[in-house]
Amino acid sequence: MDIIITGLLLGGTYALIAFGLNMQYGVARIMNLANGEFLVLGALAAFWIFLADAISPILTMLIVAPLAFFGNWVIYKVLLRPLVRRAKNQGQLEVDSILATFGMSFALVGIMVSIHGEYFTYSYLAEPFEIVGETFALNRIVAFCFAVLIGGALWLWLYFTRPGMAMRAVSVSTEASGLVGINVPRMSALAFALGGAVTTMGGTLISTFITLDASVGVIFTMKALIIIIMGGVGDIRGAIVAAVILGLVETTVARLIDPGLTLAAAYAIFVLVLLFRPQGLFGRRPT
């Protein structure tokens, strides 16, 4: 029981890391290597505002989300849209966007180092919370609840609203959805901005229980990449399932076998998925 709850909590954390990139890569077709940096940016904001004014990171998250949405919208419009327009095919766009966002990640790290080069560490809701006789960290539970909320909201929006359906259509095929009258550039920008906002929100939540620093973003980008490839690119359900599987497996291995083997176990699962379902758990087979 203890292992399942701890694993679920970790899975929630992983889902927070992966939601944003899933939107950006799955719908907007931008392989955003600066995704982790946006997450760290959210963490930095939470840390900074907490130290200055003891303002709750949850509140910070609500302030940061629209800012991140707007910032990512501008980035997409100004920096990435020209790449999309120029790209003759999906492969070229991927290469271009990887290079562009890779460069952006360095710029973001530089900015964050100049703001605060040390560790972003503070204490928020670092209190014990009991579930069926076992103790868990309250901040992780809060983050998990938000992961559920964010994931649930995204799912509802994607599957039960018109713009959501349009977005799923774009993720299936940009050409076909353009033909049926969907404004693809607009939808892509929206997906990119929304993805950025969700990633930044994840960062503010994660900063309450993981000590981050300005350069740690790339680790989160990699984790997010693994999760969305495991789950199936562009599918929110896949990201959630993959995140929870990773969380459960890592926790089980850490508790029952050896904490030293968590990474190995995570990659073993990843390799298995790639071997037997290369399109990801919920991915569509390329036609």
């Binding site: 080069g117 560790y119 503070y122 960290a137 740690v216 904490p259």
Partner: protein, 398 residues
């Protein structure tokens, strides 16, 4: 296109030549390559960079260094090694070949001090290593006669921890059961391997002995596992992010041991900033003599000039290494690196940590274990340092 590039290069080159000839006369150029980004940047931002700033500003405020009767200002040239040894070597070469610096300040991190030693030796720069802890020091100093070590070795760090365990057991505070974890990284593995036989020899039973990968996002399974093993003492050979993470989980899970030790970054001001009064009684690597007037003066200057607090360990050692470099340049009265290196070997230096001299290029005066007591991180075990505070017994997480 090509033409403009050439033009730009030519202009840049002539500009730097001009700058060089104008400055070369009365400035000592000192290079520093250390992480500003990458995994070690967070630690370097606490321990390394502020001291470089503090020392150079203080030296220049005093009119510079007296080199053979001529006052010379110091100019620091900084490069970011991105916590990447390859980048470090490139930047070090640039310092030597392009910037033609007179001296260098030793790198940050054990691996970097070892990786860069050949290149600094090649150019003959005295390398007064601080943030480097290894048992290979005698071998290395035998190979590189410009390399110095000041922060101690693995053996003394683990021995001090076992000494504390033994002292506490003798006093009846703890029993024999020790839970030990380490980060699966060169540093953590070396310390855990050094500690294991020593603990057993001293009659301790290691009831939980696990490692975890660097960057593990959830450390609660480790603390739960340690707690289930019902230990009297908890020892973690940890790095900064996990020092914070393990302690947070230990508080949440109420890992109530009388002896709790985490290694690197326990002495950071941010550790107390995060955990507040709960740090009372926590042991960590390092230490400093908080009662020394010169250390207090140094802490004050550090806060005033850099705007941040020094840590309770290697901050002072880093500053000391710069004091040694400055005094050696003045004492030797020349910028000749060979003469300065020899001067470091032959003399005793008056520093904020007291007189320091080198034996086989290694200084044996350093702190090994400190403890948070009344909100201050005090040295409790050391090699040849005065002013060790008596140990207090930790009483829960309050």
């Amino acid at each position: 296109m090509l033409k403009t590039v050439f033009k730009a290069v030519a202009i840049a080159a002539s500009a730097s030549l001009l700058a060089f000839s104008a400055q070369a006369a009365d400035v000592i150029k000192i290079g520093q390559v250390a992480p500003k980004s990458g995994p070690l940047a967070g630690g370097a931002a606490v321990t390394q960079w502020p001291n470089v700033e503090l020392w150079s500003k203080q030296v220049n405020a005093a009119g510079g260094l007296n080199v053979g009767g001529k006052k010379m200002m110091v100019e620091i040239i900084e490069y970011d090694d991105k916590t990447n040894p390859g980048e470090h070597i490139k930047a070090a070469q640039r310092l030597a070949e392009v910037d033609k610096v007179d001296f260098i300040i030793a790198p940050y991190g054990t691996g970097f001090n070892l990786a860069a030693a050949p290149i600094y030796a090649k150019y003959g720069y005295p390398q007064i290593g601080v943030s480097a802890i290894s048992d290979k020091m005698p071998e290395l100093t035998a190979r590189y006669d410009n390399l110095f070590f000041t922060l101690g070795n693995t053996t003394s760090f683990t021995e001090s921890v076992v000494e504390i365990l033994s002292d506490m057991r003798a006093a009846g505070t703890i029993g024999n059961r020790v839970a030990m974890v380490n980060v699966a990284d060169a540093f953590g593995i070396e310390l855990a391997e050094a500690a294991r036989p020593r603990m057993k020899e001293a009659g301790f039973e290691i009831v939980y002995d696990k490692s975890y990968p660097l960057g593990t996002p959830d450390l609660s399974p480790i603390i739960k596992g340690a707690k289930d093993s019902n230990p009297d003492a908890f020892v973690a050979w940890s790095y900064p992010p996990d020092t914070f993470g393990l302690t947070e989980q230990a508080i949440i899970q109420d890992l109530d041991v009388k002896m709790y030790y985490t290694a690197v970054a326990t002495c950071f001001p941010a550790f107390k900033g995060k955990f507040g009064s709960k740090v009372e009684g926590v042991f960590g690597a390092g230490g400093v003599n908080q009662d020394s007037a010169r250390i207090q003066e140094y802490f004050k200057a550090h806060q005033e000039i850099t705007g941040k607090a020094a840590d309770g360990w290697a901050s002072a050692n880093t500053y000391v290494s710069l004091e040694i470099l400055g005094q050696a340049i003045e004492g030797a009265g020349t910028l000749d690196r060979k003469v300065v290196t020899q001067y470091i070997k032959d003399n005793t230096f008056d520093t904020i940590m007291g007189p320091i001299s080198f034996e086989g290029q290694i200084s044996n005066k350093f702190w090994t274990v400190g403890q948070w007591q009344d909100g201050k991180f005090r040295g409790v075990k050391s090699s040849q340092m005065d002013g060790a505070a008596p140990i207090v017994v930790k009483d829960g997480w309050n």
